[in-house]
């Protein structure tokens, strides 16, 4: 067994029943992801990539098939265990940041640790470290409304990183940002990959964003069309 193997997806399908219609959102998807990989999952809207991301992120379970995370079959877990998986192993970064507006930056970053039961003092310390990593420690007492889009996304990334998750799952992370800020966020991902040895999965419908990743997976009509190394990778300097 490959000890670098992090995720192993075998013959996953996801079926939605809408009245009499059965929609196959995913069909026989197979994928292996190793620790430290940087891959993109690309596909047009309606391709099933969002469904795939939900399953990868333990927000949803497949109808059939097996999803092993560090050898544990996630598709058989109950709601509490899935919550724990999301808490410890998945770091979500969303297109629209999804920060809690009432909490300031450091409180937002602390939140996953609170659900993990980390004591308050340690929580604050780790949250500050995560904010330092995204170069936002000086803004830690600002509410999301007092931060720019790029800064908000950094806070969201810090929140995703703070539990040292197995994967960073970024869903259109630059979708709500202007292109300049978008590039900065992509540079941050690149750094996190190179320096932090983080496993990063980008979900996007833009080729341009997918090009930042080392490995490209393309989904269409619920199945993987191709899965290859990115030969003309965009290098952020």
């Amino acid at each position: 067994m490959n000890d670098k193997l992090l995720i192993e997806i075998t013959n996953i399908t996801k079926r939605y029943e809408m009245g009499d219609n059965v929609v196959m959102a995913l069909q026989d998807v197979n994928l292996k992801i190793e620790r430290g990989e940087y891959l993109s999952i690309m596909g047009p809207s309606g391709s099933g990539k969002s469904t795939f991301m939900n399953i990868l992120g333990c927000l949803d379970t497949p109808s059939t098939g097996e999803y092993k995370f560090r050898g544990v079959d996630v598709s058989k877990l109950d709601d509490d265990a899935l919550s724990a998986m999301r808490n410890k192993e998945i770091g979500f970064v969303f297109q629209n940041f999804n920060l809690l507006p009432k909490l300031n930056a450091v409180q937002n970053v602390e939140l996953p640790l609170a659900y993990a039961g980390v004591p308050a003092a340690e929580r604050r310390e780790r949250a500050i470290r995560a904010l330092e990593r995204v170069k936002l420690a000086d803004r830690m007492h600002h509410k999301p409304s007092e931060l720019s889009g790029g800064q908000r996304q950094r806070v969201a990334i810090a929140r995703a990183l703070v539990t040292n998750p197995g994967i960073l799952l970024a869903d259109e992370p630059t979708g709500a940002l202007d292109s300049k800020t978008g590039v900065e966020i992509m540079r941050l991902f690149d750094e996190l990959h190179r320096e932090g040895d983080n496993t990063i999965i980008l979900i996007t419908h833009e080729q341009e964003i997918a090009n930042y990743a080392i490995r490209n997976v393309y989904i269409k009509d619920g199945t993987i069309h191709y899965d290859r190394l990115n030969t003309n990778r965009t290098i952020v300097s």
Binding site: N54, G57, L59, D60, D79, D80, S83, A84, R86, N87, K88, F92, F94, N98, L99, L100, K102, L111, P112, A114, Y115, A116, G117, A120, R159, T163
Partner: protein, 412 residues
């Protein structure tokens, strides 16, 4: 997630929307305030009644001569009734078991004079037992004792009111007062007693503080009766050893007195404890009604909380999705929302307690309704408000916890 954090989050949610939170709490505030005010009014009435009957003695049976016109009096005498007498007292003492003491009293209305002052008063001839049986308290000097009684001494004890009217700032003890043509020495003054504001059976409402007490032995020798047919004494107060036997004892007493009076019903029997119980029963119905109104108010308050909480859950679907995505379990979300409901109801409960206590104080200050707040009523009202929070927070919280994270995170 520690519980204290849920409370912090809930408190913040509450203070973020102060006006809305206040409106949400309003039902709870009214409910709790009315529970406390209602119970305090009930308790006040109860205490007043207990005080009143305690003056009459809860272990006592009172046999009192009926108020009769001269014609009625003549009629019962022609039917051989001798009227209430010391003989009745002796017979009861001999025959009825479980009687600890009997006090006999005879009364006339007379003017009581000191120097140039004069007051209309009831002059009551009593035996020394009277003091213990009826819970009288002396404030100065002493009550009629065995020495006074056996020696038929010309002494008297004054009620607080009459002592003040006659003597004002003077020291009454040792002074001589005049009643009819008799001079009596004041040997004691009683503490003030509660006004007897309601007529109870044969006992007419009156102010006990204007009474003058003298030894019965001396009274019977020296004071003339208005009518030669008048009974020897007007009242017997019988103290029983065990209040559980009050009813049986009173039946027996009634039989004896009735026979001695040749079946003339020229007397009445009053049992203070029975009257107290009866009054309490009536009050219970009243209390129950008030309690039901208060409970409905709390219920409506609870529904108000549920309504707002359901709306809040909708409004915060996205927040719930975010929390779920970063690892909150269903029960974390559940706890969070139930806590919010409880925090609202506790806050409403605290305000309600303050309002209820103030209300009952206001009632007792500005009306002649007396109120008394017992700690348990505050505890009950408060506990009830917490229960309302849990019960009515449960459904919205369950809705929140059961939102699917996939859907709620994308909720706009």
């Amino acid at each position: 997630m520690e519980y204290s954090e849920n409370i912090k989050v809930a408190w913040q949610g509450l203070t973020d929307h102060k006006f809305r939170s206040f409106l949400t709490m309003l039902g709870i505030i009214f409910g709790v305030a009315s529970v406390i005010a209602m119970l305090s009014i009930g308790e006040g009435a109860k205490r007043e009644a207990i005080a009143k009957y305690q003056d009459l003695g809860v272990n006592n049976i009172i046999v009192r001569e009926k108020d009769m016109t001269d014609e009625e009096l003549e009629e019962v005498r022609t039917k051989f009734s001798p009227g209430l007498s010391l003989h009745d007292a002796e017979v009861i003492r001999e025959i009825v078991p479980g009687v600890s003491r009997i006090a006999a009293q005879a009364e006339i209305n007379a003017d009581v004079k000191y120097t140039n002052r004069s007051v209309k008063s009831s002059v009551i001839g009593v035996t020394p037992e009277f003091y213990d049986i009826l819970n009288y308290k002396i404030s100065e000097g002493e009550f009629i004792g065995d020495v006074h009684y056996d020696g038929k001494q010309k002494v008297c004890v004054l009620g607080a009111g009459i002592a003040f009217t006659l003597f004002q700032k003077e020291e009454p003890i040792g002074k001589m007062i005049k009643i009819e043509d008799q001079w009596l020495e004041v040997v004691g003054v009683l503490e003030s007693k509660a006004l007897f504001t309601e007529t109870v059976g044969e006992l007419a409402a009156r102010d006990l503080n204007t009474d003058v007490y003298v030894p019965l032995s001396m009274f019977l020798d020296r004071f003339s009766r208005g009518n030669a047919l008048d009974s020897e004494i007007q009242q017997l107060t019988i103290q029983v050893e065990n209040s559980e036997h009050l009813m049986e004892t009173s039946t027996l007493v009634n039989e004896i007195v009735k026979r001695h009076h040749f079946n003339n019903e020229d007397y009445g029997i009053v049992i203070p404890l029975e009257l107290l119980k009866q009054e309490e029963k009536e009050r219970q119905i009243y209390n129950f009604l008030l309690g039901a109104i208060a409970a409905i108010s709390l219920l409506v308050g609870g529904i108000g909380i549920m309504n707002i909480m359901l709306a809040t859950v909708m409004e915060r679907t996205r927040e719930i999705g975010i929390r779920r995505a970063i690892g909150a379990r269903k029960r974390d979300i559940m706890t969070q929302f139930v806590t919010e409901a409880v925090v609202i109801s506790i806050a409403g409960g605290i305000i309600g307690v303050v309002a209820g206590v103030s209300l009952s104080l206001l009632v007792s200050v500005f009306t002649d309704v007396s109120t008394y707040i017992r700690l348990y009523s505050i505890v009950i009202a408060f506990a009830f408000s917490v229960v309302v929070g849990v019960v009515f927070g449960y459904l919205p919280a369950k809705n929140a916890a059961n939102l699917k994270p996939v859907d709620s995170i994308r909720y706009e």
